[in-house]
């Protein structure tokens, strides 16, 4: 108990030093909280986005033909056509919920004074099952939605939320609106029948920081969710990508092997994309990024350690005579070392709450508005970084404590001044 009191006296004796050390601990801890909170929040946000893209999807991607060059072909053979879909259904059975052909083009849309190039996806109503976030307003394409027979007719379309916000400021306001678009050089008029919810939460804040966008696979890039969805024209449209929505993630591997067999049996020249594998690769990349972030906060705590150890060493130098007197009066080495550790421990505990608060404020006011994700600090992470701070504080007391432990009281007590 008296050792604890000694520790507290050491804190009270030099208020400025104690404040400086506590401030160093608090700022160091706030940096740790901000880094860890940002990393973990980012991991969760990216994970959510990846989940929203669907990890139980498979995609047969036809190669992109650039003149005589064919990009993206893995197997040798012909591309997948809409006529192949019944055959795929037969080969895969009931484990696949829907098979949706997608014809993806880049188009131009004009509304009022705004023109924007974006993707246009012709697909079947079954594609709705791939859209995990569902409809924000209205409905998705149905079997009854068709292209008009004449060029002046109206094309019923669904648009992605991001597109709706770009042109119409809100999903509700977009409903029923008509605008002009051009696809493959052919102009047409669209009428919005529904707005698809944006599954990519990150992009809602700042698309340039959308961590998944640049890393997205070819089919995923085609699922940028900046799309205009229009009806599939049976017998005319041919798929760029054919999306297969498997029942559950567990069945993906089995379905993939049967699909590989189908590709081989039918001599198809395609790239088979497995969203689950790609998701795992992305998460692995995110984990590496997280590892770097964790290294940075460890580095930060090391700097805190050096700073506070330096301050504490100076303080020990100032209290050498006191330590010498205590040793002369019968204090054991452990009895003069313990208050040094207790002081560091108490100051670090004092720094925990303000440090945590400042760290969360940094995320709230600095990180969130820019990157767009919420901080996420699970309890075990809070306990972990808090323990790391206390351990850092204890380590910072090692050098001063060693100095105290190895002190020879005799020459110090020869000093001719009061303590």
């Amino acid at each position: 108990m008296s050792l604890l009191k000694d520790g507290m006296i050491r804190i009270q004796r030099s208020p400025m030093r104690s404040i400086l050390v506590t401030l160093t601990f608090a700022l160091g801890f706030s940096a740790v909280v901000a880094i860890v909170g940002t990393i973990e929040g980012g991991r969760r946000a990216i994970g959510n986005d990846l989940e929203a893209l669907g990890s139980d999807l498979l995609a047969l991607v036809n190669p992109v033909e650039l003149g005589t060059v064919s990009l993206g072909r893995v197997t040798e053979g012909s591309p997948v056509t809409s006529q192949d879909i019944p055959s795929i259904k037969t080969a895969l059975g009931s484990e696949v919920e829907t098979i949706s052909p997608l014809l993806v083009n880049l188009g131009l849309t004009t509304y009022g004074e705004i023109s924007w190039r974006h993707t246009m996806v012709a697909t079947t109503p079954g594609f709705l099952s791939v859209l995990r976030s569902g409809m924000l307003a209205g409905r998705f394409l149905e079997e009854s939605d068709r292209w008009p027979d004449d060029r002046e007719g109206i094309v019923p379309v669904a648009i992605d939320e991001a597109l709706a916000l770009k042109f119409f400021t809100s999903a509700e306001y977009a409903m029923g609106r008509r605008f002009r678009s051009i696809r493959s050089g052919i102009p047409f008029t669209c009428e919005i029948i529904g707005v698809v919810g944006d599954p990519l939460l990150l992009r809602q804040h700042l698309s340039s920081f959308d961590a998944t966008s640049r890393a997205r696979s070819i089919p995923a890039r085609r699922l940028e969710f900046l799309n205009l969805y229009m009806p599939w024209r049976e017998g005319i449209d041919q798929p760029t990508v054919t999306i297969l929505d498997v029942d559950t993630v567990d069945k993906v591997d089995g379905v993939k092997s049967r699909l590989d067999q189908w590709v081989e049996d039918n001599d198809k020249g395609v790239y088979l994309h497995v969203q689950k594998q790609w998701t795992a690769i992305i998460l692995q990349m995110v984990d590496r990024f997280s590892g770097l972030g964790h290294f940075i906060w460890v580095l930060g705590l090391t700097i805190v350690l050096i700073l506070t150890a330096t301050i504490s060493l100076l303080a020990i130098d100032e209290s050498m005579e006191e330590v010498a007197l205590r040793r002369a009066e019968g204090a054991r080495v452990s009895q003069v070392i313990t208050p040094v550790f207790l002081e560091a421990g108490m100051l670090s505990l004092l720094a925990l709450f303000p440090g945590y608060w400042v760290g969360l404020s940094i995320i709230e006011w600095g990180v969130k508005p820019v990157l767009g994700w919420e901080a996420w600090l699970p309890l075990e992470m809070i306990l972990g970084v808090s323990s790391a701070l206390v351990v850092t504080a204890m380590l910072s007391a090692v050098l001063p404590a060693y100095r105290v432990a190895t002190l020879d009281p005799a020459p110090v007590l020869c000093g001719r001044r009061d303590i």
């Binding site: 002369a328 009066e329 019968g330 204090a331 005799a410 000093g415 001719r416 009061d418 303590i419």
Partner: protein, 231 residues
């Protein structure tokens, strides 16, 4: 008061303490023998650099001799581990320094209590209060060192040394920082307390007037005894 097991509280033989080596070697103590009876008042005098402070530090287990034998209350202290030495300093020895060495952020009572905090069990505050009363500072219990005069500070230091009820009280120039009136009062107090508690007193000084109060005066010169006189 702790009972003295043997009549001789201090028995030193061939104590040697050298600093540095080669031509720059300083022989602070060179083959020094010393024997002190329990209850005796011994003054060690000598010029500056004669080795008297080094001898006091070895006597007080604050420093270790390079060679020789030192029996303190029958214990060979030179071979004791640091933990045991701490116990000896706490239970057998008391120190009074020239510059008081009081803790500035503790009041007089807490300064006197300090040695007791390093003992097992509950700290007897009443013992510290009694000791302060004994040195006539009962009205200064809550005063901090900065609020006390030089003489009062030294009296607090004496109370701190005696609260341990030591068998051997070591004083290093206890009046060196005091005027003659306060110096006399401190010496009177030390003499009175020594008789009252039958404590052995070893006092290092360069002041012959102070030394004359002792039962025995021993003079050190260049780390060796040069003279010894008894009253």
């Amino acid at each position: 008061m702790n009972q003295v097991d043997t009549k001789r509280i201090v028995e030193m033989q061939g104590i040697r303490r050298h600093y540095g080596d080669g031509v720059s070697q300083v022989k602070a103590l060179d083959d020094v023998d010393l024997s002190i009876q329990a209850g005796e008042f011994v003054a060690i005098v000598g010029a500056s650099g004669s080795g008297k402070s080094t001898l006091l530090q070895i006597l007080g287990c604050l420093d270790r001799a390079d060679s020789g034998q030192y029996l303190l209350a029958g214990k060979n202290v030179l071979s004791l581990p640091e933990k045991e030495l701490a116990r000896v300093r706490n239970e057998v020895l008391g120190f009074v320094f020239q510059s008081f060495h009081l803790l500035g952020d503790r009041n007089a009572l807490d300064n006197v209590r300090l040695p007791l905090e390093y003992r097992r069990g509950k700290v007897e505050t009443s013992l510290a209060e009694q000791m302060l009363e004994r040195v006539q500072l009962s009205d200064r219990v809550k005063h901090f060192p900065s609020q006390l005069s030089g003489g009062e500070r030294q009296r607090v230091a004496i109370a701190r040394a005696l609260v341990k009820q030591p068998q051997l009280l070591l004083c290093d120039e206890p009046t060196g920082n005091l005027d003659s009136r306060n110096g006399q009062q401190i010496l009177d107090l030390l003499s009175g307390l020594r008789e009252e508690y039958q404590t052995t007193l070893v006092l290092v000084t360069h002041d012959t007037e102070v030394a004359d109060r002792a039962d025995r005066v021993m003079t050190l010169k260049d780390g060796r005894w040069s003279k010894e006189s008894s009253r």
